[in-house]
Amino acid sequence: MTSHAICIQTRMAVWDLSVSVEELGPEAPPLKISVTSDLHIGGVILKTVEKSQIKQDWSDHALWWEQKQQWLLKPSWTLDKCGIHADARLCLTPQHKPLQLVMPSSIVLRMRVCFSSPVFRTIMGICKLLNIRRPEELSLLWPVEEKKKKKDKDVGEEVYDITCAPLPSTGTIPKLANGMPAFFAETPETEVVYKILAVSQPAPAPETIAKLYRTTNIMEKAHINSRWLDSSRSLLQQGVKENDKLILRFKYYTFHDIIPQADVVRLTQLYEQSRWAILLEEIECTEEEMMVFAALQYHIGKVSLTEQSVASCPAMEDLDSALQCLEVKMEGESSADDMLETMTAPELHDYLKIFRPKRLTLKGYKQYWFTFKDTTISYYKSKEESSKEPIQQMNLKGCEVAPDVSVAGQKFCIRLLIPGPEGMNEVYLRCEHEQQYSRWMAACRLASKGKTLADSSFSSEVQSIQSFLAMQKTTPRNNTAQTDESINTHSLVSPRYQKKYKPKQLTPRILEAYQNVAQLSLTDAIQKFLQIWQALPDFGLSYIVVRFKGCRKDEVLGIANNRLIRIDLSVGDVVKTWRYNTMRQWNVNWDIKQVAIEFDGNVNIAFSCVTANCKIVHEYIGGYIFMSTRCREQSDTLNEELFHKLTGGHEAL
């Protein structure tokens, strides 16, 4: 009777809802709690918690509806409103779970991320914790399934665990301590992790590069883009499980508002991503460009190493001061001899050998007394005659300087191409030993840029030549701990060039490119690297294999930040380009999985996506449009709503 009365009172039947609680273990049977249809979600959680009899902080928990693959995140909604009946299987689970995150630098972090919010917001949380600004440029993707190699690789991979980090509450600005988010400064371990994120990684062993998965053609590149997660749905909805491994990458190649001081991690990770893109030939470049990239990598690696040791002083607030430290340090390190040389006499003199290759003459090297003053080399028959008129004077301003060196063969030549009215004069100078060579080489390089020996960069130039020479001494097989002196030039170039050239051949070429970058600071070098990367013709193109309406063969759609391009798969040529600013609208027909775009002048295109979901294409286009809106509003707040509007698709509306 009483039960009847209650029924009347509530006008609803009481029924059992099965809720499994993760904390009880996977084998434990789901808890049965009796509910009525007008019980709201918050009430369900409360009852479940009571019944589980576990005392802990439940604030991060939420209900997950397994069959529908959806979160029940609105505590005030009733079961009825949610459409939950007795057959529903719910699960009370934390919203934040640990995840293995592969950073662009291929460092693996284990951290707790939000599994319940849309991926877009999850990434905002991740980036906030890691102190990466502009999270909208990044996204998550599934790793490539590794095949057999997996066994031996997985063992050695180090995972940096930062699951102890506080959950980022969106909206607050992370406090900084010692130039890093306060959380990282708390323990030495986490501080190390931050350093790893903020400082570029040493060059990988050439074997590592060769072993890694590389895309060899445009089809494979297109397949990578099928692995992006959907920004508008949660991780759990997309089948990501606790401790799964996901890759964090810059997805939209439009890097807004980079501030070197505030973007240490962002810049470093961006650099790492571009570096790997080049090493793994994800983006193609010419040999000349590869050498510049190699030189920059070498330089960045070298400067970062020095900086790391400096960075241990806690007073360092930002990169700038670190760089200052670095400069001081480098100056202090230069050998006293060099210092004396530069201080007392801004002039070099020595017996060197000279050789001028001329057609039809095969004269060898001849020894003279050489002096180097300002930007000019003069030579005399002997030291005694140096007060007389020189045999010849050569002003090196604007000349080309190339090394012709073999440490093993004890050959230290400088090849000079000196421009004159009649053409370029080719001159070889042969030095006796490394010390002499590095000083004369440094002088020649400075002179070619119009600087004199008195220039402050002379000693560091000498040093960098010496350290570069040291690279030749080490055997290329040595792939143990990479220290400054033992970098293998093979680890600076992609496998194609590893195969094409021996390290011995590569060194002079990289050295040649290196002379133009050797004086850059760390940030400048990184930015230079990014600039050259961004100037590559194929930069910023994400490929998707599509089939255009009315066509019978697959083609490739390239999506960039300002345009779409259509590429003929067989030839690889760009057939057509459409720019976003002429785009009127784009629509996705989710039923037939077709994207239709209308451009100015009644140009209509439609295609279905072969390698990727329509949503991915849709999100790319919408995403880039979103990115282009950022410039105008200078505020730092992210317009999440607009992003979802532009990228969300039908579920979002």
Partner: protein, 639 residues
């Protein structure tokens, strides 16, 4: 104070140059020249003439006038300087007249305010507010000593600045000769030429070098230094510097679509909206790195050392010019780099069909700027048509200079916009100095519009109007006439001298009458003025402002007041060695009449004579340019 220092150093540098070129003259004149003037390596030679003598003959009258004006200015500056120093050294009577300057001003009297005070103090008593605290003698002396040391140091520094006398040909066959300072950019030089020629300041004006041996022409970029490339010319070069309108100079910024969307039909791009053009520029020039137009296509390449031209498929990348070898794909990895742009420049070529049997006449070459003759180190390329050539040359320039080009363009546009309000004159019309045309408008274009008085420079004639530095520029030789002669009507008081030394010093300044801070803004101030770099001392505009101040007298009405002559006269006098008594003089008689005339009609006052004189003088005595000029000067003086 910094400004003053800068001005001062520039002044000194002028003087140094002068002293060096003066030779004996200079030595006889007791110049405050530090014994340790360094490099004999700093040079002062003219470009565009086979030798100085010839160059002198080549010079047109007005060129000579201009040059002469420069020199006179230098000399008077030097002399005055000397006078100043001498006087102050003597520690003679610091009976500072009304506007006594703070001591620091003593030897750098350059600021416009000072000048103005000076001018006005002639007629009126105490306009200037400056503190009247008279420095004690000791202080003064100390200050002077310090200044002298500074001066010596500055001179050491400045002595190294290289200058060239450059003759710039104008398309109508006439030419202008000007001195170019090592630190001046091409933009500065163009602005100077605008000043001298009253032209329309169109953004297309371009200073080019031509090389008859190679039959090439290259427009210098606005940010380049002119002296550097010119210094690498050989002694006997036939190369020329010309100024002309080159439509392709900035075409890429007017119609970026033609370059960045070159694959599309040009007609369809014709009506592109301005907004879209801007966006294109924004995308390609304002990002983290400049995007180079994705040019590719078949060009002819002259084979090394052979006469034949081979077709190759070329691609332009930011890192260089590449071609894809036979049988290979266009993939980046297979490309062969023909040349990278760090060390080379791109030149248009003429008539290579005849010279090198090129397939067409639309050729360009890439070479190191120092190479002046045919060489295996030059890359010769040939295009099917002119537009293709423009496309590639522009693309290469973008790859080489990047954003700098865009900045140059924006600066040029600003400049042109500033001058647009002024009647555009064809360069020819204004270039010949003898044209008596100058209407007020022309003068305006000249940057001197506001000037009520005679000082419209630009043409030769106001002889009767002596010292105003402004006029000196163009009408050099005559002025000395009135200047030197009779012991000044009003011998300057020593401190007077101190206060006014500058005016005559920098007559060149007359072109760039820029930032006259406290001068009543000239009615229609051509905005470009402010940007105008001084003729050959770019950094310190203030100096000019001072001179400018003098040249463009603030209140037009009173001719006497506006006349700056007195100081000049005094200085000359003192330089002459007569340490004159002090009374701060009223305007000297000589200039006064001249002044009154000019107020009314400008040109007619003082016409032709001066022009003739110099050349005549120059021709007979076969010395080098400088010494000839000097003799001319001397003659003038002794008259």
């Amino acid at each position: 104070m910094d400004d003053i220092d800068a001005m001062f150093s520039d002044m000194l540098q002028e003087m140094d140059l002068l002293t060096q070129s003066l030779g004996e003259e200079a030595e006889s004149a007791p110049l405050p020249k530090p014994p340790t003037i360094p490099g004999p390596q700093e040079m002062n030679f003219s470009v565009g003439f086979t030798d100085f003598n010839a160059s002198l003959h080549d010079l047109e009258d007005n060129d000579l006038d201009a040059l002469m004006a420069d020199l006179v200015a230098d000399i008077s500056a030097t002399e005055e300087k000397f006078a100043t120093e001498k006087d102050t050294l003597k520690g003679s009577a610091p009976v500072a007249p009304i506007p006594s300057q703070p001591p620091s001003n003593l030897s750098f009297p350059g600021s416009s305010s000072t000048l103005r005070q000076a001018t006005s103090s002639n007629s009126i008593a105490a306009t200037p507010p400056p503190p009247t605290s008279k420095p004690s003698k000791e202080e003064l002396e100390e200050q002077i000593k310090a200044d002298k040391i500074k001066l010596a140091l500055e001179k050491l520094k400045e002595a190294k600045v290289k200058k060239l006398v450059v003759k710039v040909e104008i398309m109508d066959g006439s030419s202008k000769t000007l001195m170019v300072d090592e630190r001046q950019t091409v933009r500065d030089v163009i602005d100077n030429l605008f000043e001298k020629t009253h032209c329309d300041c169109n953004v297309d004006w371009s200073v080019c070098e031509t090389n008859p041996d190679l039959q090439t022409e290259r427009g210098f970029e606005d940010h380049e230094n002119l002296v550097e490339p010119l210094s690498t010319w050989t002694r006997d070069t036939e190369n020329k510097v010309i100024i002309k309108k080159k439509k392709d100079k900035y075409e890429v910024f007017r119609n970026p679509q033609n370059f960045y969307m070159w694959k599309k039909d040009k007609k369809s791009l014709k009506d592109m909206k301005e907004k879209d053009k801007e966006q294109l520029l924004e995308e390609n020039f304002c990002g983290a790195s400049v995007i180079v137009p994705d040019l590719e296509g078949i060009l002819y390449l002259k084979e090394d050392g052979k006469k034949s031209w081979k077709q190759r498929y070329f691609l332009l990348r930011a890192s260089g010019l590449y071609y894809s070898p036979k049988g290979k794909t266009k993939a980046s990895r297979d490309l062969v780099c023909l040349v990278q742009f760090d060390n080379v420049n791109v030149y248009y070529c003429k008539e290579y069909r005849i010279k090198y049997k090129a397939p067409t006449d639309h050729c360009f070459i890439l070479k190191h700027s120092q190479i002046q003759k045919e060489s295996q180190y030059i890359r010769y390329l040939c295009c099917d048509d002119e537009w293709t050539m423009t496309l590639w040359v522009t693309g290469i320039r973008i790859a080489k200079y990047g954003k700098q080009l865009y900045d140059n363009y924006k600066a040029a546009v600003r400049k042109a916009a500033g001058s647009a309000t002024w009647a555009s004159r064809s360069i020819q019309a204004s270039s010949s100095a003898s044209t008596p045309s100058p209407t007020p408008k022309v003068r305006a274009a000249n940057g001197h519009a506001p000037q009520p008085a005679v000082e419209t420079k630009g043409s030769s004639n106001q002889t009767s109007f002596p010292p105003p530095p402004a006029s000196m520029e163009t009408l050099p030789p005559p002025p000395p006439d009135p200047m030197l002669p009779p012991p000044p009507p009003a011998p300057p008081s020593t401190n007077k001298v101190n206060q006014f030394p500058p005016p005559p010093q920098f007559p060149q300044s007359s072109f760039p009458p820029p930032p006259m801070d406290d001068l009543p803004p000239p009615p229609p101030p051509p905005p470009e003025d402010s940007e105008l770099p001084p003729d050959f001392l770019p950094p310190p505009p203030p100096i000019f402002s001072s001179c400018g101040g003098e040249a463009l007298p603030p209140p037009p009405p009173d001719p006497i007041a506006s006349l700056p002559p007195p100081p000049a006269l005094q200085n000359f006098a003192s330089a002459g060695g007569a340490p004159p008594p002090p009374p701060p003089p009223p305007p000297p008689p000589a200039p006064a009449p001249a002044a009154s005339k000019p107020a009314g009609s400008v040109r007619k006052v003082a016409p032709p004579p001066p022009k003739r004189t110099t050349p005549q003088l120059a021709a007979p005595s076969g010395g080098d340019l400088m010494s000839e000029l000097m003799t001319a000067m001397q003659k003038k003086r002794t008259q």
